[in-house]
């Protein structure tokens, strides 16, 4: 099965022309044009009118393009977002499978009307309530369109009645449940280490890299990036390093040698190499290849002549 490489997903508020114009140069694996929290209440209708033109612009660097809709304005937002060129919809504030089904029904109709292949559009769902976290299993299995699921940690804290302190992580259980249930459903869990999910802020690239590595070590497969400066360290954190690739090639060699000699358990540098270690080595090497391929795709797309930027409003 092909590996989905969506390490970084850069949020660009659709009404922020400069951000939308620059997003494609960021090397993000995905770009999400935001109609929701990044757009003030009074500009929602205007924002909808900007989506169609922004899609091609956001996608010209090879990023997958998503649109984050408002749960409360679902129909109008979906109607404004489903155009050729988008990869899917980011659906926030999901608390039940019924909400997923409602979005899917309209997406299916729009695919037909706008000439997209049936079932082509993906869904990234965000859980923001205790109800959503508790019912995650029925939510992530509600549609095969769902490829990623994350928590909106600040809204979740709000729902739980918590004012989060940076030194105490209130979402250990929710994050653990997210990773287990998503993985069991073959959906990618996404997120970053506490407290960045709750308090996104400017940090050095090294800090972002460290916290993304922490997220990867929890089982997360990517990070929603509120700032283009997050993209490079996030991509790096989710890409196997050259050292790791070299080590795992060695594991495969040593293990193959052991099997030829009649055992499937052999020591290497004080560790025991057996079937699961060799299986993991395959995963790492396949992931490294998939990341390389994805990066090459984006490089090729960026080498094409650029589209004209959108005019400011």
């Amino acid at each position: 099965m092909a590996i989905l490489v969506r390490r970084s997903n850069l949020l660009a508020p659709i009404t922020d022309t400069e951000r939308v114009n620059q997003a494609w140069q960021s090397d993000a694996d995905a770009i999400t044009l935001d109609l929701e929290d990044g757009v003030v209440e009074t500009r929602k209708a205007e924002a909808r009118g900007l989506v169609k033109e922004a899609i091609a612009l956001a996608g010209q660097g090879g990023a997958e393009v998503f649109v984050r809709v408002n749960a409360a304005l679902l129909h109008a937002d979906l109607d404004a977002s489903v155009w050729p060129g988008i990869c899917g919809i980011m659906l926030p504030r999901v608390a039940s499978a019924a909400e997923v089904a409602e979005a899917v029904e309209q997406m299916t109709a729009l695919e037909r009307r706008r000439g997209l292949a049936a079932g082509a559009l993906e869904l990234i769902v965000l859980l923001e309530s205790a109800r959503g976290v508790w019912d995650i299993r029925s939510i992530v299995t509600a549609s095969p369109r769902i490829t990623q699921v994350g928590l909106d940690e600040s809204d979740l804290a709000c729902d739980l009645g918590i004012t989060p302190l940076p030194e105490y992580d209130p979402h250990v259980y929710a994050r653990g449940r997210l990773v287990i249930e998503a993985t069991a459903a073959k959906v990618q869990p996404i997120g970053i280490t506490y407290p960045l999910g709750v308090h996104p802020r400017r940090l050095s690239a090294a800090e972002i890299h460290r916290m993304s590595t922490g997220a990867r070590n929890l089982g997360m497969k990517g990070v929603l990036c509120p700032d283009p400066r997050w993209v490079a360290p996030v991509n790096a954190a989710f890409t196997p390093t050259a050292d790791l690739v070299a080590y795992n090639k060695r594991v495969r060699e040593v293990f193959a040698g052991a099997v030829a000699a009649g055992t499937a358990a052999v020591p290497l540098d004080g560790r025991m190499i057996d079937v699961p270690v060799d299986e993991w080595a395959k995963v790492v090497l396949a992931m490294a290849d998939a990341c390389d391929a994805r990066d090459a795709q984006k490089r090729a797309a960026r080498a094409m002549p650029a589209l004209a930027p959108l005019q400011g409003h």
Binding site: E181, T183, G262, P276, V283
Partner: protein, 322 residues
């Protein structure tokens, strides 16, 4: 409350590696886990199966219980080859559904009947090594009365399933371990778990670490050990067994608590230490566990003596036996 079996230490070994199997009885383990799964190369699976029946009495010569870890994908062939008198447990890897456990139970029940084994003798160890397994933890643990110990949710397979590099820390396992432990406690099963003493080195032969981990686990109420290298057996036996001082202290607590019932008080503080019914229950647990450990150690010592005597009679001892 579970009746505790004594499984402080045990070695998992490929049944195809003859020298491991032959020497297993000398290691002082509470159990030996003969592996048909990950440490046996694919092309040797059939050969390995054929070795289990004879290996069972060999690894029990030192008083250890004999377990076998089968392959998730070869349940029928593996069970048919391993359920023989002397086998205590089948470890089933990558358990994901209650249905799988019920199937194991049915096959084992039939084989016990056919082979003259007392019904219910062979336990099932349901190893949870995937996210799907964690998600179905309670159903799996309650699928058969043969499941008596339950837990896990860590390790290489789990890391791989989560897409996490092994030996980076243990936070990725916190939720799964918690779910499994809750399921086990709710069902009154022995919990296979450990506190987070993160072994991020990947070393399987560090005796000091094994001792510290066993000691820490026991203090958190866990009693099950096991490993891959003979160097960790003695430290685990020691770490999971209450020390003489702890036994002494438990007796002292119970004595003070008995005095309380005479005066009618609920609790008393002696030098800042509270003695109440919770402390008394804990002390009783310690004494009970210490007695079980002592009994198990006696059994093993007797088995070793018997084996040595039997070896000495017909032929002179080979080098390395003493």
């Amino acid at each position: 409350m579970a009746t505790h079996q004594v499984h402080r230490s045990g070695l998992t070994m490929p049944v195809v590696t003859r020298r491991f199997v032959d020497h297993a009885w000398r290691r002082g383990c509470d159990f030996i886990n003969l592996d048909l799964e990950d440490s046996v190369p694919q092309h040797l699976k059939a050969h390995a199966r054929g070795l289990i029946k004879d290996a069972i009495p060999v690894v029990r010569k030192g008083g250890a219980e004999a377990f076998t870890r089968i392959n998730h994908d070869y349940v029928h062939a593996d069970l048919d080859a391993i359920v023989w008198p002397g086998l205590s447990k089948v470890n089933y890897p990558k358990a994901e559904t209650a249905e799988e456990i019920r199937l194991l139970d049915a096959v084992i029940t039939r084989l016990e009947r056919e082979r003259g084994i007392r019904p219910g003798t062979v336990e099932i160890g349901a190893n949870i090594e995937t996210a799907t397994g964690v998600a179905a933890a309670y159903d799996i643990a309650s699928a058969s009365p043969r499941v008596k110990e339950f837990g896990g949710g860590t390790g290489y397979d789990m890391s791989r399933d989560l897409g996490v590099e092994m030996f980076v820390g243990f936070e990725q396992f916190a939720y799964g371990k918690g779910e499994l432990e809750l399921a086990a406690r709710a069902l009154g099963l022995e919990v296979r778990a450990a506190p987070f003493v993160a072994n991020t080195t990947g070393s399987v032969s560090d005796a000091d670490r094994a001792f510290r981990e066993a000691q820490a686990a026991r203090k958190c109420g866990f009693r099950l050990g096991g490993g891959l290298n003979p160097a960790v057996v003695e430290p685990q036996n020691r770490g999971f067994t209450p020390t003489a001082e702890e036994v002494e202290d438990a007796r002292w607590v119970l004595e003070r608590h008995r005095e309380l019932s005479r005066t009618g008080d609920m609790w008393i503080a002696i030098d800042g230490r509270v003695i109440d019914r919770y402390e008394a229950a804990r002390a009783r647990d310690t004494l009970e566990w210490a007695a079980l450990c002592a009994e198990r150690d006696r059994e093993k010592a007797e088995a070793v003596l018997r084996t040595r005597a039997a070896m000495a009679e017909p032929a002179p001892p080979t080098s390395g036996d003493s």
